[in-house]
Each structure stands twice: as C-alpha cells, then as structure tokens.
Symmetry: C2
C-alpha cells in the first residue's frame, strides 16, 4: 500500500512547477543556472560587468559560465570562479562576451544560444561537477576557454568586493586542464579561499595554450601562480563534430580531489543522463510537499520557493581544507541572520536529516574555530549583522527533537556567544558589544548596531535559556530567561503616529539619545541594522505577550500593527518606511495579529502581501531572496502556517491549497486540509487537529511530528476562531 | 682601496667558524640541516618519534629528511613536512628509519651515512628547494620515498601538537612527483597550512608507486586528497649508477609554484655548486662582523650565534597564499616575544634592509588581518605570550632611523594593540585583558598572565609613546608615556631575601592576592608567563631609573641584583629560581648594573654567564635558542655591548675580541677595539668614542650609525669608568 502511494507520487515530476527565473530581477538576486540541492557547483552565466551577486543579468552579455555562486545575496559578492566560455572563429582571450537568445532554465539545467559565436551552450551539474555541452556552428575553428582569473566583483565602491590573490592553470593533455583560483574579501570580508578545478574534454584538442595577465602564450601548457590572472584554452578544428562536452570538477581541497569528483560523480559522457539525475534530485526534495487544488500560480510559487530554499547553504562535506573531522561540513551559511527564521525551520520540517547535518556542522565549526558562525562563506566565518542567531537554530533543533546532535557542546557554543566578546573584529563572530549588554542590560550607543543587537541578543538569550532548561541547567535557564527581557531596557515611551513606546538609542550613562526618530533607518554603523524603530520594535518573538503589554495592550497593539502595514511605503533611500516585505526583521510581523486573537487579520495581511509582492514573473521576489529566506517565508504561508523559530510553535494563517501533504520525519505526514477553499472563502471558520476541534490559530511541533491532519474549514468572512486561545511563547 | 678591502674580506670563509651542532642538545632545539639565511626550505633529519621541535636527535634513528623546520622553539612543534628517505633493497613504506654514522653539518650542508641502507645522504638547499644527493651501495635496488603524511608531533599530551588535515601525491612521470601536505595546530594552535612540493629526479625510475594510509599501491601514480596520509616512491635498478639526486621545490602557494622554484633556483644538477652558493650566502651574512683576536672558542660561538640568528624568521615573499601585496612577507616570527629583545636589534644593526622588510611585513599583516603578530607560523598568527611586542620592534626601527617604513600605519597598528581587545581567543593577537589594564591601570587576576601582561604592556606603551612623540602626536605621547608607568600599580612592598617590593597579583577590587610567593613560577594560565616575580620585577627596560627608586635606591638595587644571580639554581620543576639564563624576560638583567654605575659588575656577570652556560659543544646553549634569541644575546655580549630594544641605546659590558668590525648601514662600519684585552685584562679602564674620551658605559645608535670607533682600554680590575654618567632611558 505504501509502496503504491510512493510510486504514484514519484510519477509526478514536480520540477515542471519550478521556474528558476522567478526572482532573477527586481533585486531577488537568485542564482540562475545548473545545480543540485545544496550543491557545491552552481554553474551559471556571469554577465555584464560581473557586478550582480548572482552573476546574472537578463539584458547584458554573457561573459561565460562560472562554477560557484551564492543565491539571493546582497552587498558585496562571493564566488564566480572558474569560468568557461566557448568560442568559434578567432580566439579571444579578453572581451569575449556574447549576447544570447533562447535562454532556458530548469532545475539542474541551463541553456542559451550565444549569438556572437553561434554556439548553443547547455549546462547541467552534479554535486561537485559542472557538465557543459557546447554545440558549435559547422565549419569553424572552436575553442573553449577556462578563465581562472574570473570572479564576481560587486562592492568595490564600499569595500566589500572580492580581491584576486592568485591562480594557476596547467594543460595536462590535449583533453585535460587543471588549476585553481584564489580569492579573498567579498561580502563577509574574508580571508582567501581556493577553488580548484579539473576539466576533462570529450575529445582531443588540436591546439592548446594559456595566458597570464592578459598575455596569450600559445602552446605554453603551464602558468604557475605568480599572483596574476591566468587562463587556458583548447582549440578544436571543424572536422571533429559539432559538439564539445566538458566536465569540470570543482574542489576546495585540491586538483586531485577535483579530478576524483569528476571520476566519481560523472563517469560517462551522457549529458542527458546527468541532467536527468539532477532533476530527480530536485524532484525528490520537491516531493516532500504535495498539493491538491490551488491556482497554478500558487503552485509555481510554492515549488519555486522550495527550489530556492535548497540552493543554499553548500554541502562541502569531504571538502573542508581547514580540519579533518567526521562531522558534516556546510559552508555558505549566508547569512544565518536571514535563514534562521524560516529556511532552517522549513528544512527541520521536511528534511530533518539535512538540518541535523547543518547543525552538526555549525557545532564542528565552533569546536575548531571557537565560535559558531552567524554567516560564513568561502570557508571563512563573517559577517555578523545582529545577534548570534546560531543560538536560535540550535534551540529550534532541540525543541523539535532533532536527534544525533551534541547539544551539550552546542550549549557551550551558545554560552561562548553570550559571554565572550569576539574582539577587534566584532563583525566576524560572536556578539559585539556584550561588555555593555552583560553589564548594563543593553548595548549602549558606544557600539554600532546597538538597537539591533540588544533586541536580537534578548531573543538569542531566550534560545540559550531554552537549551539550558532542556539540559537541566536550571541556574543558567533563570539567568538567560531574565536576560531575554533586556529589550525592555531600550524601550522608551515616545509616541509616533499614534503608537507609544519604541526601541530607542540609549547612552552608556543610561540617558536617551535625543537626536533620533522612529523611522530613522540604519546599516552597519548605525543603531539599527537594515531596519528602523517602527520595524524592530515589533521584534520580540520570544515574548510577544510582553511586547503587547509594553505597547499598551491588545487594542493599542492592533492599531499599531494596522498603522505599520497601512503606512508602508518606499522612502527616499528606496527602502521602505514601516513594513518592508523583503526585510527579515519584519518576517513575523504580519502574523502577530494571532497573538491578540485576530488571526483573520494575519491571514488578510499575509494574503495582501503575497498578492502585492510575490508572483511568478522574474520580479516575483521583491528583494534579495537571501539564500532562500524570502522563499521559505513564502512557502510556509502558501501552506497556511508559519514557524516561530526556536520555539515549538507554528501560527496558522490560511492555506492556498485545498490539500497540502508534508512529508516529515520517519515517513510520517502532516496534512493540511482547507475545506471550501476558493477565491472567496479565504477565512478560517473552524479547525480540527487530528479530528479534534481546536479553537486556536496555532499548533505545536510536538502535535504534528508523529503525523497529523489539520483540517480547516474556510468561509468568506472572519470568524470567532482563534480569538480567545492565544499562542503562548513555548519553552518558558 | 675599498675594492681591495672587500676582496680581502671575501677571501675569508667565515662559515668554517660555524658549528651547526652547537645547541642541538641540552634543550637548544636548534635546527640541524641545510638552509640559507631566512630560507623557506630548512631541510634536515627527523628522528626517533618525531617529538623534538627541531626534528633532530643525535642518538635516535633518522626517519628521513623533511623540508620545513623552525629553529630553537619549545612547546608544541611546527612543520616537518615533505619527508624524503632513500632505501636500498626491499621497499619499506613504514618503519623505514635507519641508524646513521658519519654525520656532518655545515652551513647549507648536511650529510650522514644511513647504515641500514648503506646510503650516504647529502643535503643542501636554496631558498625554496631542497637538493638531495644519495649515494647507494652497488648492486641493490634503490628507492626514494616521499612521505606527504609526515610532520613533527611534539605536544600531543598538552594540546599543542600538529594535526593532520590532508595530503596528496601524484607521480607525473618516472622522474617527477608532486603533491602537498596540509597540517593544522602546533604550538601556535593555528589553522591549516599547506606545503606543496615538486620533486625532480636526475634519472628515470624503473618502477613507481604510491601509498595511502599505509597501504601500498604499486604502479598507482595518484593519491588524491581524501583526508588520509599519502606517499609516493620511485625505484631505480642497480645498473643506473651509484647516486640519485633529487631537487624538491617547496611552495606555500601551489605545486606549480613549487616547480617554478626548482626551475628558477636550481636549474642544473650540480650538487656542489648549489652547496657552494648556500655557503656563500651564509658567508656574506657572517662577513657583517669581522673580528681579530679572541679565542677560537669565542670566534666559533660568535659566528655560530650569527648563523643561528638568521635561520628565522622565514622569508616567504612571493609565497603568501592569503593576499596579494607588493610588500615583503615574513612568516615564522616565532615568537616576537623572544626575538624583539636581541635578534631584531642585531638585524637592525647589521642587515637593516632585512629588518626593514620584516617590519614592513608585520605592518602588512596588520593591514590584511587587523593586528600585527606577536607570534606567527604556518601563515597564521598566534600565540601571544605577554605583551604586544611588535610595538617595540616598530619603536626600535623608528628610533634607529630605518627608512621606507610606513610608520603612520605602524602607529595605527600599535594603537589597535593598545586599545582594542582581541576577543575570545586572547592568545591569538593583540593584548588580552586590556579592559582591565586600560581602566584599572593593571591587569587584574581575573585574567591569566596578569603580571606578565601588566609589566609588558607598560613597556609596549612606552614604545607607543616613542612613536607618538616621533610622529608629533603629543597628546598620545603623554597618554602612553603615563600608561608606561602602569607596572607600578602591581608593585607591592613585600620582602623576599632582603629585597623589598615585587610585582604582585592584584584583584579587580584593588586588593592584593595573599596566596602568592616571589618565586612562584607560572605559564599560560598563571600570573606570570614563563617567569616568577624575582625575575619579572626586574623587567622595566623603559624606566630602569624608576625601577631602582622603587627598589629602594642604588644600594638596594645592587644588593637585589647580587642576590638574584647568586641564588640562581634549578628548582623542582627543572626551571630556575631567580636568574634563568635561557629565559627572555631576564635577558637584560645581567647588564642592569650599568644603570647604577657598576658596569664592571655587569661585565663580570655577563662573562660568568657565558662561561657557565655557553660553549662550543652540542650543549653550547642551555635552553631553547628561540629562533636565535639566545644566540643573538650571546653575539652582542661577545662583541661587548647590548641593545636596549626600542630605545636608541646600547649598554657596554666588554668585548671578547681585540677588534670587532661591524658593517652597518650604507657601507659604514662600527669598530670596537679592546686595547690590552687578554685572559686577565677583562675590565674596561677607559673608553673613547671616535677619539673622544667618554666616561659612560653606554652609547646611542645615533652616535655610531654614520660609522664610528669605540676604543676600550682593558685592565685587570674594575675601574671608575662608567660609574657616574649613567644610561638614561631615551625617547622620553
């Protein structure tokens, strides 16, 4: 019976509902190209001036196809290493970019026609190997270049760009090239990383050569590293067929490992088989959520959101050049500040083994480097934007019962975060400004990002208290629970647009900063990071009831939320005043109405946001996807509920599908039914959990983890459901 | 005329006065093997259980010859990478060590007869290449193994050992092997470094093979990195001659660069030419000091001391895998805590361009990593033992007029040291405990090494004040000059053996720690690092006059010094109570008598120390040479004077040679004459500087830098010379 179910499901190719172009414009910055879930190789086009984080521009020339990317990030760029470009006709080793037509992007596949060279480029990938198929025009000399000096260069103007360190290329035979690119800097202002490659061609070249620092050296097979940009090419004469295929193995260890990756992951030369395998890998992840009903648009949004949520972080297990360990190794946790809210809770729900491995990897980083990362890329930790949000990921794993995690060591890492100042570079790891926070109860204006830090440290302290309680460390539980109220120390009873009480800058001597306003935005060196006081004064996910009180009670809180959403509009900086859909600090705000017994308003607000800001076009994400943070927010709300990260709690808004079946741990399923759902019937009238009526707009992870059905009955208008039994902070 | 002088000097091969065996026993831990000055390759035997820091043991089997070493260090080991071993007869890939006879060590040359294999091994080196010549017995199959899994393993018991990360080997042809070894940890508890190699043999092998994790794979040419130990071998049959030569290029960038190093540094196959070049490089350094008179023993001690002072740090310019820069790059500053006192002042005097490059390298490390190192090895900064002694190196360069150094940036780096806490890992860089130091005026017992830190931070603050003054930053000069008196805040008027007043542990609340004694020794986690209060209470090099006062005036100070030296004896821990000749904090103490007008007592004390603890045997250094720190201390005192690091000041004891000619900057010479010097006449009766009588037992760098002659007239007894015109702290 079970076998029958599985085989029925596996016949559905859900990848057809993924449109990788969604979010490639309008600032979404999602990666476009060929990759497998959490793949090390993300092979895609780098375009124009290489000054987009994803590499991709729709309307600018393609410079070639590089093997490493991140997805959805902003600020300075990372990666864009080991770029291949096919050419026909005369060899060009610089300014070889081409316009393209006929661009196609699918899960694990990308193709475009390069009009300058009349070459059809097709890309697919395994975990560590980029597989290229280039179809050339008849009768012309053909070349394939490998540029080891290439990288993405966003952020030069503001000091976050990558910088070149060195490179090396070596032509091993007339069908093999190896080498590396060594780059430092980038958004996380990191030390150097090295991307090694081994490229194997499916035919023998007639001519080969290399270049260094832009100077062509025909026939010279080797360019050793002298701190210059290098490259190599193979040339094939017209007679040898129309296509040239190349497999490029990538490694962060060595050229030898890169070659091993090619041999073990792509033994043959059948492009279509490799492409099919990539698609199957995606499908096996997408199958974790199966839906019935709902619009085609919603379906496409959901599966594309799932796809985007699994491009990052990068599984580099077996590719860690820093230490030898039996633990998994994930890189490109970029940034946890973005992803702890919805991406990791999504993985915890649908791929708990992967989430477990990510958590173990973070703990292993603590073991060897002294802190868990808050962001990490290119094998280097940095930059910390606000709190030490790894704490919340640990707490989330713990309260949701993830097994095979060394929680005692994780707890040590959390205590380290909470107690040991990270030192000179406070953007690297740990909690900057904690000498203040731990003595005054708030981060004073002597430190940058004092507001963001204070409210986030409070939330992180709650996560630490959660683990302390779970591990039976009662004194520490009391200590950190108390500290989790520290956000109140920055609460000042000022008024703004009818609301009273805001997080406000406070000096070391306890007095308030007077030159400040509730809508004053900020960044790295300001009071708020990527936020303002209207937005961040809603951020107390671990004590919303306390927040409601501080705001003057449920009525005042409701009015404040209303104002927040109604007044949301772009400001002079192109940022948003009040609510900002693409900004992680406000991720949970639309559903906060649940805490005052107004789930219908949450629902209406969420639906309005999705309608206004999300879609199936290239502009379908209204800002950086942030490694799938936005996408996973969307995926949850399309399914009808939302996770409170670090707590055993989900809040219910309303689903977009009549039936959603989520495969959770141990072969169990969590089914959400929305009876009578249609274009008009968007409001929950009543709910049953496992057949029992529930009057609440929330449920606990523990209530679904062994399999469950949540049955919602929908109607046209808001109802009394969820108005009295309010969600409570768990783990207290 | 000048040409004549130079050619006369260059005919002297001063390397014949170097005995590399001095300091190889009795804990000296000096490197034994083939290297050039500051060379990246230090090729020598690793013996026994690979648990000596230098690799070398006289009486234990040789495991092979590895290419990277440090010299004179204690604690956990570093390096010992890429080990070669010749074998005759059956191939052995484990337990292949051999006893040896006929060991010879010269500058740039080492040889031994490996009795197990009947092979004569000869080694020489260029900067980046190890050149091996193995002479095999007739009629046997011959093998040469390259073990990429080898490294030195001192410190496992106390958590300072190196750890294996990964390795790779690849046989490129029947006379070429390349690969790498990746190791982390070691004394400085560092992240991973990677040593790449390219080995070229002078003849074709008949058989080749590799191994992984101890398993032989005959004929398999490649072992890609899978986190296991790997190795490779070439086998040569009897017919092809008695010797096999191998050139092994080392690089910290890549195998390609390692090969380039072989091609550019050792184009031919003439071992003797390479050996001769190495010897010439040493001679050109040794020639900086030319002597007449004195005993053969003193001569040997002097030139061997010079040799030992130039094995470290390692010039890795062009080999920095971390960033691209036009600045020089030196690694294995190991540790500046040891070498700032005498090694760097020696280089400043005789090789100012090299010292300038080292300083520039330290500043460049600050630019890219945020702090200057206090210790660094394997391209990773750490560990800081006491103060931020790079400050004193900067001040030393500045007051001695070293040109082409960006002192403004250096000053920023010093301010960073002084003001910005280094964070979670306070042993990595910067000043641990400065929140205390900068608020209380001392490091309280809440921090480890509080005593050492407080007195050293005071001295470092004086260096910072020195630079502030020189750069015209008067406010900062006043600030740091004031802070340089902070050592007084730990001065407690306790009595011990007739002396009163000692550096003493003090709590955060200002009260003293009662459970403490003046001879209580310590290490990383204690009040004093590698010291006790009797020793460290003499360490105020920037205000000896103030120290004399605090001790109760000149008489009390003299008596205190007398007690210190008279009572010196080994304690239960094998360490010394009171004076400890091989411990850097006491380096300057023997000559402190100069500050109370008793240079004859300094002189007598220094001579007694040299007689007792130094010599020309293998035990000729009585403890870790510490990258030449001990040796440079000795070199100065044999020449008759001693530098006060960071100040424009040298103190005179008395020379061991009738004439010492020191080549200083710009072709100038500083000549020290000791008239009437003989076995009895050891005391200075009078002195002239450039023909003018001077009544003082000190001189300034500014007095000699344009060329000078110091003429001392010696006699049997102490005289009145130097009793009234006392040395004063300069730069104040």
């Amino acid at each position: 019976m079970l076998a029958g179910i599985f085989s029925a499901y596996s016949q559905t190719n859900l990848t057809t509902f993924v449109d990788p172009f969604i979010g490639t414009e309008n600032g979404g910055n999602v990666f476009l190209g060929a990759a497998v879930p959490f793949g090390m190789v993300k092979l895609g086009p780098d375009c124009g001036n290489n000054d987009n984080n994803s590499g991709y521009y729709r309307d600018q020339n393609i410079n070639g196809f590089s093997h490493t990317h991140v997805s959805g990030t902003g600020g300075g760029s990372k990666y864009g290493n080991i770029l291949l470009m096919p050419e026909s006709g005369d060899l060009q080793i610089s300014q070889f970019s081409s316009a393209r037509t006929d661009e196609v992007a699918k899960t694990g596949y990308y193709s475009a026609f390069l009009s300058r060279y009349q070459v059809k480029a097709e890309l697919t990938a395994t975990h560590s190997v980029g597989f290229h198929r280039y179809t050339f025009p008849e009768g012309q000399v053909r070349h394939i270049l490998i540029d080891a000096g290439h990288f993405l260069e966003v952020g030069k103007e503001w000091g976050e760009s990558q910088e070149f360190v060195g490179s090396e290329v070596r032509i091993l035979s007339n069908h093999e090239i190896e080498g590396y690119s060594r780059i430092r800097g980038g958004w996380n202002k990191a030390g150097a990383y090295t991307v090694y490659f081994y490229a194997m061609f499916d035919q023998e070249a007639k001519e080969t050569g290399t270049w260094k620092n832009g100077k062509l050296q025909k026939g010279n097979p080797v360019q050793p590293d002298s701190g210059e940009k290098t490259g190599a090419y193979l040339s094939f004469y017209p007679s040898s067929g129309k296509t040239v295929q190349v497999k490029v193995g990538i490694s962060f260890l060595s050229v030898g490992k890169a070659k091993l990756n090619v041999e073990s992951e792509t033994p043959g030369w059948n492009f279509d088989v490799v492409r099919d395998q990539a698609e199957k890998k995606w499908n096996s992840q997408l199958e974790k959520i199966r839906i019935e009903g709902g619009s085609d648009e919603a379906k496409k949004m959901l599966y594309t959101a799932l796809y985007h949520s699994m491009l990052m972080p990068t599984n580099k297990t077996g590719e860690n050049p820093l230490w030898k360990s039996d633990e998994p190794y994930y890189d490109d946790l970029y940034a946890i500040w973005d992803t702890y809210r919805t991406t990791h809770p999504l993985l915890t729900l649908i791929s708990p083994e992967i989430q477990r491995d990510m958590v173990r990897s973070m703990i292993d980083i603590y073991r060897y480097e002294g802190y868990m990362p808050d962001a990490r890329s290119g094998n280097v930790t940095g930059r910390t934007q606000g709190g030490s949000n790894s704490d919340i990921i640990i707490a989330d794993a713990f309260v949701k019962g993830l097994k095979d995690i060394d929680y005692e060591t994780a707890f040590q890492a959390m205590i380290k975060n909470a107690e040991v100042p990270p030192g000179g570079n406070e953007q690297k790891e740990g909690r900057g400004g904690i000498p203040d926070y731990n003595s005054l109860g708030y981060v004073s204006t002597s430190y940058e990002r004092a507001g963001t830090r204070t409210v986030e440290y409070s939330a992180c302290d709650f996560a630490t208290a959660t683990l302390a309680k779970g591990l039976g460390k009662n004194d520490l539980y009391e200590k950190y629970l108390k500290r989790s109220s520290n956000w109140k120390n920055l609460w000042r009873p000022v008024e703004s647009y009818g609301a009273k009480g805001f997080i406000w800058p406070r000096k070391k001597d306890g007095t308030w900063e007077e030159k400040f306003s509730t809508l004053q935005p900020g960044s790295w060196s300001d009071f708020f990071y990527e936020s303002q006081s209207w937005e961040l004064s809603f951020y107390v996910p671990h004590d919303v009831a306390g927040l409601v009180q501080m705001c003057g009670g449920p009525k005042a809180f409701e009015s404040r939320l209303d104002t927040f959403f109604v007044k949301s509009k772009p400001n002079e900086r192109g940022w948003m005043d009040f609510y900002n859909v693409n900004n992680e600090p406000g991720f949970m705000t639309p559903i906060l109405y649940n805490y005052i017994g107004k789930p219908a308003k949450s629902n209406a607000q969420v639906r309005q946001i999705i309608t206004k800001y999300f879609g199936t076009g290239r502009d379908g994400l209204s800002g950086n996807d942030d490694s799938g943070a936005m996408s996973s927010w969307l995926a949850f709300h399309l399914m009808g509920f939302y996770p409170v990260a670090g707590q055993d709690l989900y809040l219910i808004a309303a689903p977009y599908f009549e039936k959603t079946t989520v495969s959770i741990a141990d072969g169990k399923q969590f089914t959400i039914l929305a009876r009578n759902l249609n274009a008009k019937n968007k409001f929950v009238q009543s709910a049953k959990l496992n057949g029992q009526a529930i009057d609440r707009a929330w449920f606990r992870h523990s209530e679904i983890i062994n399999g469950a059905t949540l049955e919602l009955t929908m109607g046209e208008s808001p109802s009394n459901w969820g108005t009295s039994n309010l969600p409570e902070t768990t783990n207290k």
